[in-house]
């Protein structure tokens, strides 16, 4: 370099703004608690105050209470968890009446995960939630632990997923509605586009990966119900790939999940195209992990001279 003039000081970088927009929703940061790992929002408040997170998605809610599956419901597999809880939940009415008011009073941004065995059940639950204080809905079309029909049987079929999404969007009466997709489908970009065209405000993926753990001595599955859903670090490479494929197929925001434990994991999902990232198994392993990730995000952005995520989102170079 022949220019000997003193280099101008880099522009002053203010503290990073971690906020992200999920369609019409503004989240204070991109870290969201995944459904099934944060209860009804206040159980972990001593260790992880829900208002500190971008949002919390509460346990999957059905129109009427569900008892869930027989024990054992979770086992640890190599590096991950295999679960078949079976969506035990108190039902949408009890949630809206008892659990939601204190959670909103605590300052949380609340997403309600909605489950059902038939379109009418999804629609009925969505109607009740549309009248409530929840900030958004997450339509769960991808639970692997329900007998068919229900859950995954909707998410595996683009026609069924689109019909269900359209019905739920109508019932949501303008409340933002995110659709949670399964990890493996024949044509993910097609499924994502159909769900987007049906009116979804955002797409979250991936749900757990169907799996089986075997007890050699009893010659039976280790889980009470047999099959389960795999979560945690083993899922992360798959989840990153599907997040990328989905984000490049649709224009609505994508929320990535699957094995995110740290700020670096969250940033990898954002590079792949995610607007926000859900943490799930990480919370079960350490309920303070979302707080650590949020701190780490601010630090990482600062260290890299960035003030937000806009330059990072979807910036992964594939070739």
């Amino acid at each position: 370099m022949n220019d000997q003039a003193p280099r101008p000081a880099p522009p002053a970088v203010g503290p990073a703004d971690l906020a992200v927009s999920l369609g019409p929703l503004r989240l204070k940061n991109p870290v969201v608690a995944a459904s099934g790992t944060f209860g009804y929002g206040l159980e972990l408040a001593d260790l992880c105050p829900p208002a500190r997170l971008g949002a919390v998605v509460v346990k999957g809610l059905s129109l009427t209470p569900w008892p869930g599956n027989p024990l054992p419901r979770i086992i640890e597999t190599a590096g991950g968890l295999l679960n078949s809880i079976g969506l035990e939940n108190i039902g949408v009415e009890a949630f809206v009446r008892q659990a939601l008011p204190p959670l909103k009073a605590a300052g949380a941004t609340v997403g309600a995960n909605v489950v059902g065995r038939a379109v009418e059940e999804y629609v009925g639950a969505t109607r009740l939630l549309a009248q409530s204080e929840v900030d958004f809905l997450e339509l769960n079309v991808s639970c692997p632990n329900l007998a068919s029909p229900g859950g995954l049987s909707f998410g595996a079929d683009p026609d069924a997923a689109a019909r269900l999404t359209a019905a739920a969007v109508a019932a949501a009466e303008g409340k933002p509605l995110m659709v949670k997709l399964p990890p493996l489908v024949a044509d993910l970009p097609l499924l994502a586009r159909r769900v987007e065209a049906a009116g979804a405000t955002a797409i979250s993926l991936v749900n757990t990966l169907p799996g089986l753990a075997v007890d050699l001595e009893t010659r039976r599955p280790k889980l009470g119900r047999g099959f389960g859903g795999l979560s945690g670090p083993p899922l992360k490479p798959l989840a990153l790939r599907q997040t990328l494929l989905c984000a490049r197929a649709v224009s609505v925001p994508v929320v990535g999940l699957g094995g995110a434990f740290t700020a670096e994991d969250v940033l990898e999902f954002i590079l792949a195209g995610a607007t926000a990232v859900q943490m799930g198994t990480a919370i079960l392993a350490d309920p303070t992990s979302p707080l650590k990730a949020i701190e780490g995000l601010g630090r990482w952005l600062g260290d890299h001279g960035l003030t937000g995520f806009d330059d990072l989102r979807g910036s992964l170079q594939l070739d």
Binding site: A45, P70, A285, T288, S289
Partner: protein, 275 residues
């Protein structure tokens, strides 16, 4: 730890870095771990009496084993907590092989114990321990003194803890071993308890594997004796959110071992579900 939340409730769970003070091999592949809590002493002692905590003596998540492991609190004193841990798998191997001075991640105190129960207030209990179910009994013996009698059963002599150590905190112990090779009577401890109930009726607090608790429930029904259990189930979170430890009740509804328990009314649990 910057991410640590502070709560006003004295018994609210905290996630802290404790220090391992000592590890003592007490026989039967079982080890007594004494941890010191961070922060200025004196502190109020942690609640025990059937409550539990999660421990981790290896690299933080996502290292494997992925999950911290839950253990009954054996005893507590201001600034100190003790755990009785049986070496069974990789997590308990790491914990029991840890060296004094090592940091141990400790989340607790968790769940509900016997405090506030009529059975504890009445001051007389038969304590029935199946195997590693011995762990929560010491703090109850401390509280009740002669009001508590310990019944301790194992399958094999190799699994029995050292008798002298056991007697050092439990006094006179009624022991049984199924293989007949160790100390105590040959057979099932539930049968010894049955005999005792015939001339010394008291409420029971039982802790051990599900099959053992099921047998206690059958006995307690037949003897028309109140039964509290320190229930055991696989826990991912230990904090009430994952629902892996949700037990069905005979009258409908469910309870979480980690939140409504581990101390639960053993006669209300549907022990036959999912067998």
């Amino acid at each position: 730890m910057t991410a640590q939340a502070v709560s006003a409730r004295p018994d609210a769970p905290a996630l802290v870095e404790a220090r391992l003070e000592s590890v003592r091999d007490v026989g039967g592949r079982t080890f007594l771990l004494r941890l010191s809590l961070p922060g200025p002493a004196p502190q109020p002692a942690w609640p025990a009496l059937g409550r539990f905590a999660k421990l981790r003596a290896w690299a933080p998540p996502p290292a494997v084993p992925l999950l911290d492991r839950p253990f009954s609190i054996h005893r507590s004193a201001p600034g100190q907590v003790e755990f009785l841990i049986r070496r069974l798998g990789p997590a308990t191997a790491a914990l029991t092989a840890a060296r004094p001075g090592q940091a141990v991640r400790l989340t607790g105190p968790l769940g509900r114990g016997l405090e506030g129960t009529a059975e504890l207030a009445a001051g007389r209990l038969h304590l029935a321990a199946g195997g590693a179910g011995l762990a929560p009994m010491a703090s109850i013996m401390e509280r009740l003194g002669a009001g508590a009698r310990l019944f301790y059963g194992e399958r094999t002599a190799e699994a029995q803890v050292d008798l002298a150590w056991l007697q050092s905190w439990a006094g006179e112990v009624e022991a049984a071993v199924e293989d007949g090779r160790g100390y105590g009577r040959r057979g099932l401890i539930v049968d010894r308890l049955d005999e005792a109930l015939s001339h010394d009726p008291r409420p029971i607090f039982g802790c051990g594997p599900p099959g053992f608790l099921r047998a206690l429930a059958v006995l307690a029904r037949r003897r028309q004796t109140p039964l509290l259990v320190g229930a055991e189930a696989f826990m991912a979170c230990g904090l009430g959110v994952c629902l892996s430890c949700s037990l069905p009740l005979t009258g409908g509804g469910r309870v979480r071992v980690c939140r409504e328990g581990p101390a639960l009314d053993g006669l209300t649990i549907d022990w036959e579900a999912g067998r």
